[in-house]
Amino acid sequence: MNKETVLQGLNVFWKGMLAIFIAIIIIMLAVYLLQKVSEATDNVIANRAATADEREAVKQAKRAEKEERKLARQAAKQAKKLQTPPDDTTNA
């Protein structure tokens, strides 16, 4: 048994354990951070998707409203036409 080698072994022991714990704790923190970032990214994407859906819904509602108004106008016109008698037939 060489005392110097044993001391060197003890040196490797504490340095090694310290290094491995530091490395693993940093990786662990990095994973927590990665999860937070990806959660945040997911939320932003989901929000964007939600706003895009809302905008589309408003557009569709407006389009439907326009369509309804157009149809109402056309119906009114047709009703007007039906109420007024044609001039030519009376003359003949």
């Binding site: 048994m1 060489n2 080698t5 044993v6 060197q8 072994g9 003890l10 040196n11 490797v12 022991f13 340095k15 090694g16 354990m17 290094a19 491995i20 714990f21 530091i22 490395a23 693993i24 704790i25 940093i26 990786i27 662990m28 990095a30 994973v31 927590y32 990665l34 999860q35 970032v37 990806s38 959660e39 990214t41 997911d42």
Partner: protein, 367 residues
């Protein structure tokens, strides 16, 4: 006709012993199914290199050439095998519960404790460190570190590392039962996995490589290859490469690695008293790993509200997935409703990363 008896007259008793050891390895591989992919080529290789007048392990023989190219040159075989292993591992259970990372670190205690023990037994620092790495419970890491340190016991270290990995189902339950109570083994752990996004799974191997590379630069090749394999798996656009790495590459390298290691199993390198000491130290390394993992979990229980089943600490070694399965089985034995598989798998894959980093740390300190 003298040439016919040239071989038989040149045989030594040491060679006969090595041939018997080769046969034992083959029997263990086939009959007991102990790491057959590695022990069988190693056993057969040991017979081939120990036949009298065999030149296979010489530098111009096929096994010697494979050793020079695949291990001695740039440690290509263990590193390429790590790509395959990385492609096989799903880090999902670990990423959904990052607390489990700590057990991977704790279970590396066996490496460093065995290094001290080996120096006490009179081994040189390089050999002691190479022997300690058996505690990584990871064959490729043991080969990589032992070769990088220029250890004289590469063959013995590899045989011992793989043998004890195969004996994990015997070693770990015995040790765990000795240091835990029935009540502790019955502790149930809830499994509420968080959703792990694809982005996290892709960024994880990159981040780990960078962190490990900065803290222990010598671990870049080990951790980098492991993480590269995992990136291929998780990126989602290289399915064919991932499958090739998991199956073809891993199998091919394992086959060559077994034969190559046999070059270090020549009687003159292997039949020494030190080989028996290495076997004893290897066992100590596995026992220390298990004890440290369990004790770390017990210490964490003193400070946390949610109790951890101490057995999962033992799964922090790198023997994947054997160790996780053992812990799961022991949990079920203690309480049929106690399912610990996902927790122990998380610890086990953490051990895979930690052991590669530990190998790099040892090299960074000593080289």
């Amino acid at each position: 006709m003298g040439f016919l008896i040239e071989g038989i007259s040149a045989i030594t008793w040491q060679q006969v012993v090595m041939i018997i050891i080769g046969l034992v390895l083959i029997v263990l591989a086939i009959v007991k199914e102990m790491e057959p992919a590695l022990l069988l080529p190693m056993g057969f290789g040991a017979i081939m290199v120990n036949l009298p007048l065999s030149t296979l392990a010489d530098s111009n023989g096929i096994i010697g050439w494979l050793f020079n190219i695949g291990i001695d040159g740039a440690e290509a075989f263990p590193l390429l095998l790590f790509i395959g292993i990385g492609a096989m591992i799903d880090f999902g259970p670990l990423l959904s519960n990052p607390k489990l990372f700590i057990f991977g670190a704790g279970a590396q205690f066996g490496i460093f404790a065995t290094i001290v023990l080996a120096t006490l037994l009179g081994f040189s620092m390089a050999d002691a460190a190479a022997i300690g790495i058996i505690g990584a419970a990871d064959g490729p890491t043991s080969i990589f570190v032992a070769n990088a340190l220029g250890s004289n016991y590469l063959g013995a270290i590899t045989v011992v590392a793989y043998s004890y990995m195969a004996l994990v189902p015997i070693i770990q339950p015995t040790v765990i039962k000795l240091i835990t109570t029935e009540k502790e083994r019955k502790i149930r752990m809830e499994y509420n996995p968080k959703k792990v996004s694809k982005l996290t799974k892709i960024l994880f191997p990159i981040v780990v490589t960078i962190i490990a590379g900065i803290i222990a630069p010598m671990s870049i090749s080990l951790v980098g290859c492991l993480m590269f394999g995992n990136l291929i798996r998780e990126c989602g656009v290289l399915d064919n490469l991932s499958e090739t790495a998991q199956k073809v590459l891993a199998n091919l390298i394992t086959l060559l690695l077994g034969l190559t290691i046999a070059s270090q199993m020549k009687a003159e390198y292997f039949l020494r008293v030190e080989t028996l000491m290495i076997m004893a130290l290897g066992l100590c390394a596995f026992v220390f790993d298990t004890v440290a993992g369990v004790m770390l979990a017990k210490i964490m229980n003193l400070f946390s509200k949610k109790k951890i089943n101490p057995m999962i600490g033992a799964a922090g070694i790198s023997a994947f997935p054997m160790s996780a399965r053992i812990v799961h089985k022991m949990g079920l034995e203690a309480d049929p409703q106690n399912h610990l598989l996902m927790h122990s798998i998380g610890c086990n894959v953490s051990g895979q990363i930690a052991s590669a980093i530990a190998g790099g740390v040892v090299l960074s300190i000593l080289l």
